[in-house]
């Protein structure tokens, strides 16, 4: 900042670029267990410090500490670990499938698995998530069939979406997973509307909406927060701050100036800042916000602080815009390793079982991919061509019927 009488246009930039040593010294990581946990119906005005305090439960030794430490049955934690691992194994395998030409596109959730998996396990069966494309863990935690995922990714005859949608943009109503789209943020307001509908009917279901850090700059984000606040909608609005939006660092969405969680203050909502690589913290924060929502306390904004350990998608090379080894230096570690460490520490898990589970999941994924390949990969074994014309409207009009005939179907 100069004061020579001339204005200067400020363009933000990340602290490091390719070739630099990764540097996260600007990120302050407090010890686990320090942040107070208010009663969920506390007035938002009395919680204005929360969006600036990182809620962490797992300490460096893997112990669950502090007031946010949730009571979770060991078998649920093991189910969470399994779903996170399955997500990672599946991502690795299907990313490679894209490289082998079996599909057009893929996106991995690597480093962010705890968020979707913990939320899937803590949310009610009737609740609806409005996911981002790094939310596969929800489906894994809820035992969505792997075959159906693979078939969707391969756009083959058994694709549940019948070849109409880009790979990984799933829809699974019965599993509480709303239809994904490649437009960012445009379902955030749907989560609010869905939650308002539940309240309108006097039901007990809540919605969980998701965007990434970059999408907080979209109007949809602010519109949804306004409606959520005005109508006290039973919704949890989440921001996964994984530091990167393709090649744009989170500072381009305003992260250099404040936390994303703190945006809640302007809307008169509680905001939680949560270690997104800490399965127990994600669980605890979601549970807190869900309780508040279900008791008519309205919406909560949660920022999950994490790191996108993979590239954006199969279409970019992150080494072109950030240090290639940045992920290894992320100060909050890896979500799978941290839950594994916790389970090891509490005596519910060990390395031998972990290796055995990995091998089992690898085999399971291989088999799912194999069945998908047998049906067809991109461009082969496609759904019936007539599917192209289905579902435009509930009933086709004459245009659709004429065009079908033109194609001879």
């Amino acid at each position: 900042m100069g004061d020579d009488g001339k204005l200067q246009l400020y363009i933000p930039a990340p602290t490091t670029r390719p070739g630099d040593r990764p540097d996260f010294s600007h990120i302050h990581i407090p010890p686990a267990g320090l942040v107070a946990r208010p009663e969920p119906l506390t007035d938002h005005d009395a919680m204005r410090e929360l969006p600036f305090q990182l809620v962490r439960v797992l300490d460096d030794s893997g112990a669950a500490v502090g007031p946010w430490a949730p009571e979770i049955a060991p078998e649920t934690l093991l189910a969470g670990l399994r779903a996170m691992l399955l997500t990672r194994v599946f991502d690795e395998r299907l990313f490679r499938a894209q490289r082998q030409g079996k599909t057009s596109f893929y996106m991995k959730s690597t480093g962010e698995e705890a968020i979707a998996v913990a939320q899937a396990l803590v949310a009610g069966a009737g609740d609806m998530s409005f996911p981002t494309y790094r939310y596969l863990g929800w489906l894994m935690a809820r035992n969505y069939p792997l075959d159906a995922l693979v078939n969707q990714i391969f756009s083959n005859a058994k694709d549940p979406l019948q070849g109409r949608q880009l790979p990984i943009l799933y829809s699974a109503r019965e599993y509480g997973f709303y239809s994904l789209s490649g437009n960012l943020g445009s379902r955030y307001g749907h989560a609010v509307g869905w939650a308002m509908a539940s309240a309108y009917r006097g039901d007990d279901k809540i919605a969980i909406g998701h965007v990434g850090d970059g999408t907080t700059a979209e109007g949809d984000f602010h519109e949804a927060l306004t409606f959520a606040s005005v109508y006290r909608a039973p919704v949890i609005l989440c921001v996964t701050n994984n530091q990167w939006a393709i090649s744009s660092f989170s500072g381009l969405a305003g992260a250099d100036s404040t936390t994303f969680a703190s945006k809640a203050i302007g809307y008169g909502l509680p905001g939680l800042l949560v270690d997104g690589n800490d399965f127990l913290a994600v669980w605890a924060a979601t549970q807190w916000a869900a309780e508040r929502a279900r008791r008519n306390g309205g919406a909560t904004l949660i920022e999950f602080f994490t790191y996108r350990a993979s590239g954006h998608s199969t279409s970019d090379d992150p080494s072109k815009y950030r240090p290639v080894d940045e992920a290894e230096h992320w100060p909050l570690g890896d979500p799978i390793e941290r839950l594994r460490q916790h389970l090891n520490l509490t005596g519910h898990w060990d390395d031998a079982r972990h290796e055995a589970l990995l091998a089992e999941l690898d085999q399971t994924v291989r088999e799912a991919v194999k069945q998908g390949e047998a049906i067809g990969t991109l461009g082969h074994g496609k759904p019936h061509l007539g599917e192209m014309f289905e579902g435009v409207f509930k009933e086709p009009d004459w245009r659709i019927l004429e065009q079908r005939r033109e194609l001879g179907i």
């Binding site: 239809s179 789209s181 307001g189 409606f227």
Partner: protein, 339 residues
């Protein structure tokens, strides 16, 4: 039967549907306590309660996004965008979400929403209260676009739109809310009183989407119109004495292609009129369809009349608006013999 203006008929449709179906609810800017800037939702909040008809923030994108989420849950929201000129902040929601939800999710989710919006000129509203954006929606696969021209249709089409499981853009020609304006802005205004289409049945009925109405049978030329232009065309036909067949499309998606082709094949001539500016307007699609399907029946070139290709100009409202004199001129051009 009761005699109603279009506003009363629309209000009645909403009242009927709020009473019939607990999943129907209404929201939008100023629609609740106040009853809407054009009074279409007058008294509905008092009669049905605040959760059935309520006010929203000034956020068209937020209104439509909320409606889609509610629709996905299983409700049938009817939202008002105060002027069609303000619908553009919601365009992404309509195009990328409402129109695509059923298709991309293979029927897992859909958006049975109705988006009502007053549109069109003739009220000295300048360029932000006068536009006719129907072609923008007609081009979007997955949306239906409905435009009534009288109280009877307004009620029946709105009920059909609310019951429709696809998203419907329901454009209300605000110039004819209170009377069948025929474009003669310098003459005394008529109310709906005494007009046959102002006789509106009480209670429930619907007018199917995709069925045009032949308002006047004729042998010499087919006139395709919708909204306010139906009445302008009617006046021009009467003034020229040309034996025209007047078709009120009532919905442009779905489009009653059979009624159009049957009529043009009979008359051999076609005039298309709309308020929206002409270039790439919905008339372009109509013209193309008529040419493709009726070419060998045509005796003269298809005429296409619209607003000029300028933004809607405040002081020049009646120079811009395709009034009866311009429609009459176009009708006469249709009838000209080749030189």
């Amino acid at each position: 039967m009761a005699e109603m203006s279009m506003i009363q008929a629309l209000n009645d449709a909403l009242d009927v549907m709020l009473t019939r179906d607990p999943d129907v609810l209404i929201f939008g800017e100023d629609v609740g306590y106040f009853g809407g800037v054009f009074r279409v939702t007058d008294n509905l909040q008092a009669r049905h309660g605040v959760t059935r008809c309520f006010d929203t923030p000034i956020s068209e994108g937020g209104i439509v996004a909320t409606a889609i989420g509610m629709g996905a849950y299983g409700l049938r929201p009817v939202v008002e965008i105060q002027f069609a000129d303000y619908i553009l902040p919601a365009f992404d929601q309509l195009v990328s979400e409402a129109a695509r939800l059923r298709y991309r999710s293979n029927g897992d989710f859909w958006a049975p929403i109705t988006v009502r919006s007053p549109y069109g000129g003739g009220i000295f509203g300048g360029q932000t209260h006068s536009q006719s954006p129907e072609a923008l929606f007609a081009h979007v696969t997955g949306l239906k676009t409905v435009i009534p021209s009288n109280p009877y249709d307004a009620k029946g089409l709105l009920i059909a739109s609310i019951e429709c499981d696809d998203p419907v853009i329901f454009l209300e020609p605000k110039r004819i809310y209170n009377g069948p304006f025929d474009g003669h802005h310098d003459q005394q205004l008529k109310s709906w009183a005494g007009h046959p289409a102002a006789e509106v049945p009480e209670g429930y009925y619907s007018v199917p989407l995709g069925k045009a109405a032949t308002l006047r049978e004729g042998r010499e030329v087919t006139v395709l119109a919708y909204g306010t232009m139906v009445h302008v065309a009617q006046a021009a036909i009467a003034e020229t004495g040309i034996d025209a067949e007047l078709i009120d499309l009532r919905s442009i998606v779905p489009l009653d292609i059979e009624a159009i082709t049957e009529s043009v094949r009979k008359t051999g001539r076609c005039l298309i009129v709309h308020e929206a500016s002409r270039f790439a307007g919905f008339g372009a699609e109509l013209s193309a369809l008529v040419q493709e399907r009726c070419f060998y029946h045509l005796k003269s070139p298809i005429e296409r009349l619209g607003g000029w290709d300028t933004p809607y100009p405040h002081a020049f409202e009646w120079d811009y608006f395709p009034g009866p004199a311009r429609v009459a001129k176009a009708l006469r051009r249709c009838m000209e013999e080749p030189a």
